[in-house]
Amino acid sequence: MRQRLLIVDGNASFALRVRQYLTARGFEVDCASELEEAQALLTQVRYAAMIAAWRLQGAAGAAGLELITLAQNQAPWTRTILLAGRAPQAVGAEARARGTDVVLAQRPTLSQLGRLVGTLVP
Protein backbone atom coordinates (compact mmCIF):
# COMPACT_ATOMS: atom_id res chain seq x y z
CA MET A 1 0.00 0.00 0.00
CA ARG A 2 1.27 3.47 -0.86
CA GLN A 3 2.40 5.74 1.96
CA ARG A 4 0.14 8.72 2.44
CA LEU A 5 1.39 12.29 2.84
CA LEU A 6 -0.32 15.53 3.81
CA ILE A 7 0.74 18.89 2.36
CA VAL A 8 -0.60 21.93 4.21
CA ASP A 9 0.05 25.17 2.41
CA GLY A 10 -2.09 28.09 1.32
CA ASN A 11 -0.04 28.50 -1.83
CA ALA A 12 -2.13 26.38 -4.18
CA SER A 13 0.41 26.26 -7.01
CA PHE A 14 3.23 25.17 -4.67
CA ALA A 15 1.03 22.51 -3.08
CA LEU A 16 -0.01 21.22 -6.49
CA ARG A 17 3.60 20.97 -7.69
CA VAL A 18 4.64 19.11 -4.55
CA ARG A 19 1.66 16.81 -4.87
CA GLN A 20 2.46 15.98 -8.49
CA TYR A 21 6.14 15.44 -7.71
CA LEU A 22 5.56 13.16 -4.74
CA THR A 23 2.69 11.29 -6.39
CA ALA A 24 5.03 10.47 -9.26
CA ARG A 25 7.41 9.02 -6.65
CA GLY A 26 4.84 6.59 -5.39
CA PHE A 27 3.17 8.47 -2.55
CA GLU A 28 -0.52 9.18 -2.11
CA VAL A 29 -0.76 12.89 -1.40
CA ASP A 30 -3.54 15.01 0.09
CA CYS A 31 -3.39 18.81 0.20
CA ALA A 32 -5.10 21.20 2.58
CA SER A 33 -5.10 24.97 2.67
CA GLU A 34 -7.20 25.62 5.78
CA LEU A 35 -6.11 24.89 9.33
CA GLU A 36 -9.36 23.13 10.20
CA GLU A 37 -9.25 21.06 7.05
CA ALA A 38 -5.70 19.96 7.87
CA GLN A 39 -6.68 19.18 11.47
CA ALA A 40 -9.63 17.09 10.30
CA LEU A 41 -7.45 15.14 7.89
CA LEU A 42 -4.69 14.61 10.41
CA THR A 43 -7.08 13.14 12.96
CA GLN A 44 -9.17 11.03 10.57
CA VAL A 45 -6.62 9.73 8.06
CA ARG A 46 -3.33 7.98 8.78
CA TYR A 47 -0.42 9.91 7.28
CA ALA A 48 3.18 8.81 7.16
CA ALA A 49 4.33 12.42 7.00
CA MET A 50 3.02 15.96 6.95
CA ILE A 51 4.68 18.93 5.29
CA ALA A 52 3.17 22.11 6.71
CA ALA A 53 3.71 25.81 6.14
CA TRP A 54 4.25 27.66 9.41
CA ARG A 55 1.49 30.14 8.62
CA LEU A 56 -1.85 29.73 6.84
CA GLN A 57 -4.16 32.34 5.43
CA GLY A 58 -7.20 32.83 7.62
CA ALA A 59 -5.57 31.26 10.68
CA ALA A 60 -4.20 33.42 13.44
CA GLY A 61 -0.64 32.83 14.61
CA ALA A 62 1.63 29.99 13.63
CA ALA A 63 -0.83 27.38 12.38
CA GLY A 64 2.02 25.01 11.52
CA LEU A 65 2.92 24.79 15.20
CA GLU A 66 -0.65 23.84 16.07
CA LEU A 67 -0.50 21.06 13.52
CA ILE A 68 2.78 19.76 14.88
CA THR A 69 1.28 19.59 18.36
CA LEU A 70 -1.81 17.84 17.02
CA ALA A 71 0.35 15.30 15.22
CA GLN A 72 2.39 14.67 18.35
CA ASN A 73 -0.73 14.17 20.45
CA GLN A 74 -3.07 12.35 18.11
CA ALA A 75 -0.96 10.97 15.27
CA PRO A 76 2.48 10.34 16.74
CA TRP A 77 3.38 8.04 13.82
CA THR A 78 3.25 11.04 11.46
CA ARG A 79 6.67 12.53 10.70
CA THR A 80 6.51 16.30 10.37
CA ILE A 81 8.33 18.89 8.29
CA LEU A 82 7.74 22.58 8.97
CA LEU A 83 8.24 25.04 6.13
CA ALA A 84 9.39 28.04 8.15
CA GLY A 85 10.37 30.42 5.38
CA ARG A 86 10.36 34.03 6.67
CA ALA A 87 9.18 32.94 10.09
CA PRO A 88 10.76 34.52 13.17
CA GLN A 89 13.56 32.33 14.50
CA ALA A 90 11.51 31.56 17.57
CA VAL A 91 9.01 29.65 15.42
CA GLY A 92 11.64 27.15 14.32
CA ALA A 93 12.86 26.74 17.89
CA GLU A 94 9.31 26.24 19.11
CA ALA A 95 8.63 23.69 16.38
CA ARG A 96 11.67 21.67 17.47
CA ALA A 97 10.57 21.93 21.08
CA ARG A 98 7.18 20.54 20.05
CA GLY A 99 8.86 17.57 18.42
CA THR A 100 8.90 18.29 14.69
CA ASP A 101 11.36 16.20 12.71
CA VAL A 102 12.62 18.92 10.37
CA VAL A 103 12.42 22.69 10.15
CA LEU A 104 13.23 24.15 6.73
CA ALA A 105 14.12 27.82 6.90
CA GLN A 106 13.90 28.20 3.15
CA ARG A 107 11.40 26.78 0.71
CA PRO A 108 13.04 23.61 -0.65
CA THR A 109 13.28 22.52 -4.25
CA LEU A 110 11.10 19.60 -5.20
CA SER A 111 14.07 17.26 -5.37
CA GLN A 112 15.27 18.37 -1.91
CA LEU A 113 11.82 17.78 -0.50
CA GLY A 114 11.61 14.40 -2.21
CA ARG A 115 14.95 13.33 -0.71
CA LEU A 116 13.92 14.54 2.72
CA VAL A 117 10.60 12.70 2.64
CA GLY A 118 12.46 9.62 1.43
CA THR A 119 14.68 9.68 4.51
CA LEU A 120 11.78 10.26 6.92
CA VAL A 121 9.45 7.74 5.31
CA PRO A 122 11.61 4.88 4.12
Partner: protein, 257 residues
Protein backbone atom coordinates in the same frame (compact mmCIF):
# COMPACT_ATOMS: atom_id res chain seq x y z
CA UNK B 1 -7.16 20.58 -1.96
CA UNK B 2 -5.68 24.04 -1.71
CA UNK B 3 -7.68 27.20 -2.31
CA UNK B 4 -10.82 28.81 -0.91
CA UNK B 5 -12.36 27.87 2.46
CA UNK B 6 -14.59 24.86 1.99
CA UNK B 7 -17.53 25.38 4.30
CA UNK B 8 -19.51 27.91 2.22
CA UNK B 9 -19.53 25.50 -0.71
CA UNK B 10 -21.19 22.72 1.28
CA UNK B 11 -24.63 24.30 1.24
CA UNK B 12 -24.64 24.68 -2.54
CA UNK B 13 -27.05 22.33 -4.32
CA UNK B 14 -25.45 19.02 -5.23
CA UNK B 15 -22.46 19.57 -2.99
CA UNK B 16 -23.47 17.04 -0.35
CA UNK B 17 -24.90 13.66 -1.36
CA UNK B 18 -27.20 11.45 0.66
CA UNK B 19 -27.04 7.68 0.50
CA UNK B 20 -29.22 5.19 2.33
CA UNK B 21 -27.98 1.95 3.83
CA UNK B 22 -30.51 -0.72 4.84
CA UNK B 23 -30.52 -2.08 8.36
CA UNK B 24 -31.86 -5.62 8.20
CA UNK B 25 -33.60 -7.90 10.67
CA UNK B 26 -31.46 -10.93 11.47
CA UNK B 27 -34.51 -12.89 12.47
CA UNK B 28 -36.65 -11.75 9.56
CA UNK B 29 -35.00 -13.22 6.51
CA UNK B 30 -32.74 -10.20 6.27
CA UNK B 31 -35.62 -7.89 5.38
CA UNK B 32 -34.92 -4.18 5.70
CA UNK B 33 -36.27 -2.75 8.94
CA UNK B 34 -35.12 0.82 8.33
CA UNK B 35 -32.48 2.75 6.40
CA UNK B 36 -29.72 4.97 7.73
CA UNK B 37 -29.10 8.20 5.85
CA UNK B 38 -25.40 8.75 5.24
CA UNK B 39 -23.91 12.00 3.98
CA UNK B 40 -20.94 12.25 1.65
CA UNK B 41 -19.05 15.47 1.01
CA UNK B 42 -18.28 17.02 -2.34
CA UNK B 43 -16.76 14.56 -4.80
CA UNK B 44 -13.05 14.88 -5.36
CA UNK B 45 -12.44 16.91 -2.19
CA UNK B 46 -10.96 15.97 1.16
CA UNK B 47 -14.47 16.26 2.59
CA UNK B 48 -15.87 13.42 0.49
CA UNK B 49 -14.89 11.22 3.44
CA UNK B 50 -17.72 11.69 5.95
CA UNK B 51 -15.40 11.40 8.96
CA UNK B 52 -13.26 14.24 7.62
CA UNK B 53 -16.37 16.24 6.67
CA UNK B 54 -17.86 16.16 10.17
CA UNK B 55 -14.55 16.68 11.94
CA UNK B 56 -13.91 19.69 9.71
CA UNK B 57 -17.33 21.14 10.55
CA UNK B 58 -16.75 20.54 14.25
CA UNK B 59 -13.42 22.34 14.14
CA UNK B 60 -15.01 25.23 12.23
CA UNK B 61 -17.65 25.44 14.99
CA UNK B 62 -20.33 24.58 12.43
CA UNK B 63 -21.32 21.05 13.38
CA UNK B 64 -24.90 22.08 14.15
CA UNK B 65 -25.25 23.86 10.79
CA UNK B 66 -23.98 20.79 9.02
CA UNK B 67 -26.35 18.53 10.96
CA UNK B 68 -29.27 20.76 9.95
CA UNK B 69 -28.18 20.66 6.34
CA UNK B 70 -27.76 16.90 6.39
CA UNK B 71 -31.14 16.12 7.94
CA UNK B 72 -32.85 18.45 5.48
CA UNK B 73 -31.19 16.74 2.53
CA UNK B 74 -31.88 13.28 3.94
CA UNK B 75 -35.56 13.85 4.70
CA UNK B 76 -36.06 15.46 1.31
CA UNK B 77 -34.31 12.61 -0.51
CA UNK B 78 -36.17 10.02 1.57
CA UNK B 79 -39.50 11.36 0.31
CA UNK B 80 -38.93 9.05 -2.67
CA UNK B 81 -38.78 5.98 -0.41
CA UNK B 82 -41.81 4.00 0.81
CA UNK B 83 -43.20 6.02 3.74
CA UNK B 84 -43.46 2.97 5.99
CA UNK B 85 -39.71 2.37 5.74
CA UNK B 86 -38.08 3.79 8.85
CA UNK B 87 -35.49 6.51 8.35
CA UNK B 88 -32.52 6.90 10.68
CA UNK B 89 -30.78 10.27 10.82
CA UNK B 90 -27.41 10.95 12.43
CA UNK B 91 -27.41 13.92 14.79
CA UNK B 92 -24.60 15.00 17.08
CA UNK B 93 -25.48 15.15 20.76
CA UNK B 94 -23.78 18.54 20.86
CA UNK B 95 -26.21 19.80 18.19
CA UNK B 96 -29.21 18.77 20.29
CA UNK B 97 -27.62 20.49 23.25
CA UNK B 98 -26.65 23.73 21.57
CA UNK B 99 -29.32 24.23 18.93
CA UNK B 100 -32.56 24.51 20.90
CA UNK B 101 -34.64 24.79 17.73
CA UNK B 102 -33.18 21.68 16.11
CA UNK B 103 -35.81 19.21 17.35
CA UNK B 104 -38.80 21.34 16.27
CA UNK B 105 -37.03 22.00 12.98
CA UNK B 106 -36.60 18.27 12.42
CA UNK B 107 -40.25 17.55 13.19
CA UNK B 108 -41.41 20.34 10.85
CA UNK B 109 -39.21 19.00 8.08
CA UNK B 110 -40.55 15.53 8.63
CA UNK B 111 -44.17 16.72 8.48
CA UNK B 112 -43.52 18.83 5.40
CA UNK B 113 -42.17 15.77 3.61
CA UNK B 114 -44.98 13.43 4.62
CA UNK B 115 -42.99 11.33 7.04
CA UNK B 116 -44.57 10.36 10.35
CA UNK B 117 -42.31 10.95 13.37
CA UNK B 118 -42.91 7.31 14.34
CA UNK B 119 -40.97 6.38 11.19
CA UNK B 120 -38.01 8.50 12.22
CA UNK B 121 -35.03 7.37 14.25
CA UNK B 122 -32.54 9.90 15.53
CA UNK B 123 -29.15 8.28 15.79
CA UNK B 124 -27.10 10.07 18.42
CA UNK B 125 -23.44 10.39 17.54
CA UNK B 126 -20.79 12.28 19.41
CA UNK B 127 -17.13 12.85 18.88
CA UNK B 128 -16.51 15.37 21.61
CA UNK B 129 -16.54 14.97 25.37
CA UNK B 130 -19.83 15.73 27.11
CA UNK B 131 -20.93 19.23 27.88
CA UNK B 132 -23.86 20.61 29.83
CA UNK B 133 -27.04 18.60 29.58
CA UNK B 134 -30.25 20.58 29.91
CA UNK B 135 -30.75 21.32 26.22
CA UNK B 136 -29.86 17.78 25.25
CA UNK B 137 -32.48 16.25 27.52
CA UNK B 138 -35.14 18.76 26.43
CA UNK B 139 -34.49 17.96 22.78
CA UNK B 140 -34.62 14.22 23.38
CA UNK B 141 -37.88 14.59 25.31
CA UNK B 142 -39.44 16.67 22.53
CA UNK B 143 -38.48 14.08 19.93
CA UNK B 144 -39.79 11.24 22.05
CA UNK B 145 -43.09 13.00 22.71
CA UNK B 146 -43.56 13.23 18.95
CA UNK B 147 -42.92 9.50 18.56
CA UNK B 148 -39.35 9.62 17.25
CA UNK B 149 -37.18 6.70 18.35
CA UNK B 150 -33.60 7.09 19.52
CA UNK B 151 -30.55 5.07 18.57
CA UNK B 152 -27.12 5.38 20.16
CA UNK B 153 -24.34 5.08 17.60
CA UNK B 154 -20.82 3.67 17.92
CA UNK B 155 -21.54 1.70 21.09
CA UNK B 156 -18.30 0.38 22.50
CA UNK B 157 -16.11 3.06 20.97
CA UNK B 158 -15.55 6.80 21.19
CA UNK B 159 -17.90 8.86 23.32
CA UNK B 160 -20.76 6.34 23.46
CA UNK B 161 -20.28 5.59 27.12
CA UNK B 162 -22.51 4.01 29.75
CA UNK B 163 -23.46 7.52 30.72
CA UNK B 164 -24.74 8.20 27.21
CA UNK B 165 -26.80 5.00 27.42
CA UNK B 166 -28.42 6.20 30.62
CA UNK B 167 -28.95 9.70 29.28
CA UNK B 168 -30.40 8.60 25.92
CA UNK B 169 -32.24 5.45 27.00
CA UNK B 170 -32.11 4.37 23.36
CA UNK B 171 -34.44 2.03 21.53
CA UNK B 172 -31.48 0.86 19.44
CA UNK B 173 -27.92 0.09 20.46
CA UNK B 174 -25.71 0.35 17.37
CA UNK B 175 -22.52 -1.57 17.98
CA UNK B 176 -19.41 -0.09 16.40
CA UNK B 177 -17.88 -2.04 13.52
CA UNK B 178 -14.64 -2.38 15.47
CA UNK B 179 -16.32 -4.87 17.75
CA UNK B 180 -18.17 -6.68 14.97
CA UNK B 181 -15.51 -7.19 12.34
CA UNK B 182 -13.52 -10.35 12.97
CA UNK B 183 -15.87 -11.45 15.75
CA UNK B 184 -16.27 -14.90 14.16
CA UNK B 185 -12.69 -15.73 15.10
CA UNK B 186 -12.37 -13.80 18.34
CA UNK B 187 -14.01 -15.07 21.52
CA UNK B 188 -13.24 -11.81 23.33
CA UNK B 189 -15.17 -9.82 20.74
CA UNK B 190 -18.00 -12.32 21.03
CA UNK B 191 -18.02 -11.80 24.79
CA UNK B 192 -18.24 -8.03 24.35
CA UNK B 193 -21.07 -8.36 21.83
CA UNK B 194 -22.90 -10.73 24.15
CA UNK B 195 -22.54 -8.35 27.07
CA UNK B 196 -23.90 -5.44 25.01
CA UNK B 197 -26.87 -7.58 23.93
CA UNK B 198 -27.56 -8.44 27.53
CA UNK B 199 -27.33 -4.78 28.52
CA UNK B 200 -29.64 -3.75 25.67
CA UNK B 201 -32.28 -6.23 26.83
CA UNK B 202 -32.33 -4.44 30.17
CA UNK B 203 -33.09 -1.23 28.28
CA UNK B 204 -35.73 -3.06 26.18
CA UNK B 205 -33.62 -1.98 23.22
CA UNK B 206 -32.71 -3.75 20.01
CA UNK B 207 -29.10 -4.29 19.00
CA UNK B 208 -27.70 -3.40 15.59
CA UNK B 209 -24.38 -4.89 14.50
CA UNK B 210 -22.66 -2.37 12.23
CA UNK B 211 -19.99 -3.12 9.65
CA UNK B 212 -21.03 -6.68 8.80
CA UNK B 213 -18.91 -7.50 5.79
CA UNK B 214 -18.36 -11.25 5.88
CA UNK B 215 -20.67 -14.25 6.03
CA UNK B 216 -18.73 -15.55 9.04
CA UNK B 217 -19.34 -12.37 11.05
CA UNK B 218 -23.00 -12.39 9.97
CA UNK B 219 -23.38 -15.94 11.27
CA UNK B 220 -21.70 -14.91 14.52
CA UNK B 221 -23.96 -11.95 15.24
CA UNK B 222 -26.95 -14.13 14.38
CA UNK B 223 -25.76 -16.86 16.74
CA UNK B 224 -25.30 -14.26 19.46
CA UNK B 225 -28.98 -13.35 19.04
CA UNK B 226 -28.43 -9.76 18.00
CA UNK B 227 -31.51 -8.23 16.39
CA UNK B 228 -30.39 -6.24 13.38
CA UNK B 229 -27.36 -5.87 11.14
CA UNK B 230 -25.93 -3.37 8.70
CA UNK B 231 -22.97 -3.62 6.38
CA UNK B 232 -21.70 -4.02 2.85
CA UNK B 233 -22.37 -7.77 2.91
CA UNK B 234 -26.06 -7.04 3.31
CA UNK B 235 -26.47 -3.83 1.33
CA UNK B 236 -24.15 -1.00 0.36
CA UNK B 237 -25.10 2.64 0.88
CA UNK B 238 -27.13 3.63 -2.16
CA UNK B 239 -29.12 6.51 -3.56
CA UNK B 240 -32.87 6.73 -3.00
CA UNK B 241 -33.41 5.82 -6.65
CA UNK B 242 -31.18 2.75 -6.35
CA UNK B 243 -32.91 1.69 -3.17
CA UNK B 244 -36.35 2.07 -4.77
CA UNK B 245 -35.17 0.00 -7.74
CA UNK B 246 -33.88 -2.65 -5.33
CA UNK B 247 -37.22 -2.76 -3.54
CA UNK B 248 -39.06 -3.18 -6.84
CA UNK B 249 -36.71 -5.89 -8.11
CA UNK B 250 -36.64 -7.70 -4.79
CA UNK B 251 -32.91 -7.19 -4.32
CA UNK B 252 -33.88 -5.27 -1.16
CA UNK B 253 -36.81 -6.53 0.90
CA UNK B 254 -38.69 -4.12 3.13
CA UNK B 255 -40.14 -5.31 6.39
CA UNK B 256 -41.36 -1.92 7.51
CA UNK B 257 -42.53 -1.56 11.06
Amino acid sequence: MAGEPLFPTLSQPGSLRVLFQPVVALGGGLATRFVEALTRGPRGTNLENADVLFEYARRKGMAAELDRLCVRLAITAAAALPPQLGLSLNVHASTLEQDRSFAPHLLELSAANGRAPSNLIVEIVEHAPRWSEAGFHEALAALRRAGVRIALDDIGCGQSSYRMMLDCNPEYFKIDRYLVQGSHADTRRQAVLDSIRSLARTFAAQVVAEGVETAADLATVRDLDLDLAQGYLLAAPQTAAELCAGLVSGAVRALGE
